[in-house]
């Protein structure tokens, strides 16, 4: 048997693990997992690299996407089995069409851990936009209407009792460009993008999303409705493998269980997938800065999901008759209201 690097690592990981859950079904079922090259997708990277998927009897192929939208479509079309993405109007709409289901939680805002930041452009900052309460009459960047940016911005404005106008700019890169050049006034984004931007002086951090949306369930694990209902075993296996990856990530990167060595080793692993175009020493700070807690055991904050669903409905972005049960299959993971 010829082993490639990934399989070797997998075997080593398997040997290192103390107890192994018995695979629910026959070994090596081939599945495709969609991912973006973001730190927040580390759960999948770790589970693959350390062989947790193999242990769960899955032969996982990672498929990378440039954006969350096409990934959701790929799940709906059956080209991808499982993926992690932010809740958006599109995702809810696909769930409403019977194509996908949210089966677990991934990234969420949590007290004490750096979460998503509210940013102001340098020009707007100098003109007095120094806290979210001054957002009235400003322009707020978003990828598209019904994106998570739209949700966050709206919620912040609502809480502050102000009105903003939202500029759709399709891509994160375009939003960053518009913010830097002062074409838009404000935006919100994960810390590993926010911090370097603020460091360059082109933008300023003026607040935290967690102050407005505590416990915000930013990203979720989702799959096709068919997998959720007909492939229970496989789905449980995926969540088991994914959950172990997440556990490793949280304990090493947030709780520092392995000390600095553990962090370094983890950075090495993640760097294989994220910031691959940069040398290790340049990528490391970004990876470390980008650390956010991923929900243990993929547990899911349904209260946050409910709030998001209701907001999308109130904005007439998705159908009013969609219920939380249409969107979520809560039978796989622990659900909580936070």
């Amino acid at each position: 048997m010829r082993l490639n690097r990934r399989q070797t690592l997998g075997l080593m990981g398997a040997a290192a693990a103390t107890t192994l859950a018995a695979p629910a079904i026959a070994q090596n079922r081939k599945i495709v997992v969609g991912a973006l090259r973001f730190t927040s997708h580390s759960g999948s990277f770790i589970a693959l690299e350390r062989g947790y998927f193999n242990d769960a009897g899955l032969d996982v192929e990672l498929k990378f996407f440039q954006a969350a939208q096409p990934m959701a479509v790929a799940i709906a079309s059956g080209d991808v089995d499982y993926a992690v993405t932010a809740v958006s109007g599109g995702l809810i709409s696909l769930a409403d069409k019977g194509a996908i289901k949210v089966i677990g939680g991934a990234l969420s805002e949590e007290d004490g851990i750096d979460g998503q930041k509210i940013l102001a452009s340098d020009a707007a900052f100098k003109a007095g936009l120094t806290s979210p309460s001054q957002l009235g009459g400003k322009t707020f960047g978003m990828s598209t209407a019904g994106s998570s940016f739209h949700y966050m911005g709206s919620k912040v404005a609502q809480a502050e009792g102000v009105e903003m106008s939202f500029k759709p700019l399709q891509k994160v890169g375009a939003i960053i460009g518009a913010l830097k050049s002062g074409q838009i006034d404000a935006w919100s984004i994960v810390p590993h993008i926010a911090k370097p931007l603020a460091g360059s002086g082109a933008v300023h951090i003026i607040g935290n999303i967690s102050d407005y949306l505590p416990g915000y369930q930013v990203t979720t694990v989702f799959t096709s409705a068919k997998n959720a209902s007909d492939e229970r075993g496989q789905t449980e296996d995926f969540l088991a493998g994914f959950g172990k990856g997440v556990s490793d990530y949280n304990s090493t990167m947030i709780d520092k269980a392995g000390g600095d060595d553990g962090v370094n080793e983890m950075v090495d692993l993640i760097h294989k997938y994220v910031y691959t175009d940069r040398p290790r020493e340049k990528a490391a700070p970004s990876i470390i800065n980008g650390t956010m807690r991923i929900n243990e055991g993929a547990r899911l904050n349904v209260a946050s999901l409910k709030d998001q669903l209701e907001w999308f409905q109130s904005e007439d972005l998705v159908g009013k008759d969609i219920t939380l049960d249409t969107l979520v299959d809560g039978s796989y993971v622990e659900i909580y209201e936070g």
Partner: protein, 274 residues
């Protein structure tokens, strides 16, 4: 026996009518066929989506698209979206087409301009103008400026190419005639070159304006809250197929309208064509 033989011989007394073989290859105006194709296609989709044979993820129900459209109309949102789009289209296309016609005529008339600009136009023609949108945003601002610029730029190049081609195709003997009667340069350009190039310019405009409509959606990708393109993009990101199709239908109608307008213009301006 004798009778069959006679029947086999064509040059016998029985005359045989010459078989007609000259049909086809001549386009006839059969407008109803186009309508029928549409009706049948839409009917099929309606039946397919109704019966579940086509899933909700594949295509929306045509009746739902119609309902969305009606709702759009009744809520007044249609005009809220249509008005900025039409403004962008008219201003952008007018800028691009008039600059394109002027440049095309100059290329057609002056060898130096031709030598200098034709390679440049050839170089910018294949650039997907959408790729330049971020640049336009920096140059012209995220508001209307960049949208006008994108549409203008997109209509400019095909108009230039069509126009100088049309000027090149103006019958040289007519220009010689003008010269032989001692007409001034400007008279020759105004009275011979421009009218002679008009058919080519107008058919170029047909293509340029279709491109302008395509670019409308691209232009509204960045920073447009209202507009048909913004509406379609939003519907796309929400997987709201009904709205998506309603938007696409509006664009198609816009295309048909523009084409009809040019047809009218051709009828008025080019009645002299044989």
């Amino acid at each position: 026996m004798a009778e069959t033989e006679a029947a086999n011989r064509p040059n016998d007394d029985k005359p045989i009518e010459v078989r007609f073989r000259g049909g086809g290859f001549a386009p006839r105006s059969l407008r109803w066929v186009g309508v029928a194709v549409f009706v049948v296609l839409i009917g099929l989709i309606q039946w397919g989506t109704q019966s579940g044979w086509i899933s909700a993820l594949t295509l929306p129900k045509p009746s739902d698209v119609l309902a969305t459209f009606v709702q759009l109309w009744e809520s007044g949102l249609l005009f809220k979206h249509l008005q900025p789009s039409l403004t962008r289209l008219v201003i952008g296309a007018a800028l691009g087409a008039s600059a394109g016609i002027a440049t095309g005529v100059l290329i057609g008339l002056f060898s130096y301009v031709r030598a200098g600009l034709v390679p440049l136009v050839a170089a910018i023609f294949p650039i997907p103008k959408i790729a330049l949108l971020p640049l336009f945003v920096i140059w012209f601002g995220i508001d209307e400026g960049s949208k006008y610029a994108l549409i203008a730029f997109g209509t400019f190049t095909p108009t230039v190419v069509a126009t100088y081609g049309a000027v090149d195709n103006v019958d040289r003997s007519l220009i010689r005639m003008g010269q032989s009667f001692g007409l001034s340069w400007s008279s020759i350009v105004r009275k011979i070159v421009l009218p002679g190039a008009m058919p080519g310019i107008l058919s170029g405009l047909r293509i340029s304006l279709a491109i302008a409509i395509i670019l409308l959606v691209a232009a509204e990708m960045l920073g447009a809250e209202y507009g048909i393109g913004a509406y379609i993009l939003e519907a796309g990101s929400l997987y709201d197929l009904e709205r998506l199709f309603a938007g696409v239908v509006i664009l198609s109608l816009l295309g048909v309208l523009v084409s009809a307008l040019i047809g009218l213009l051709e009828k008025r301006l080019l009645g002299w064509r044989v």
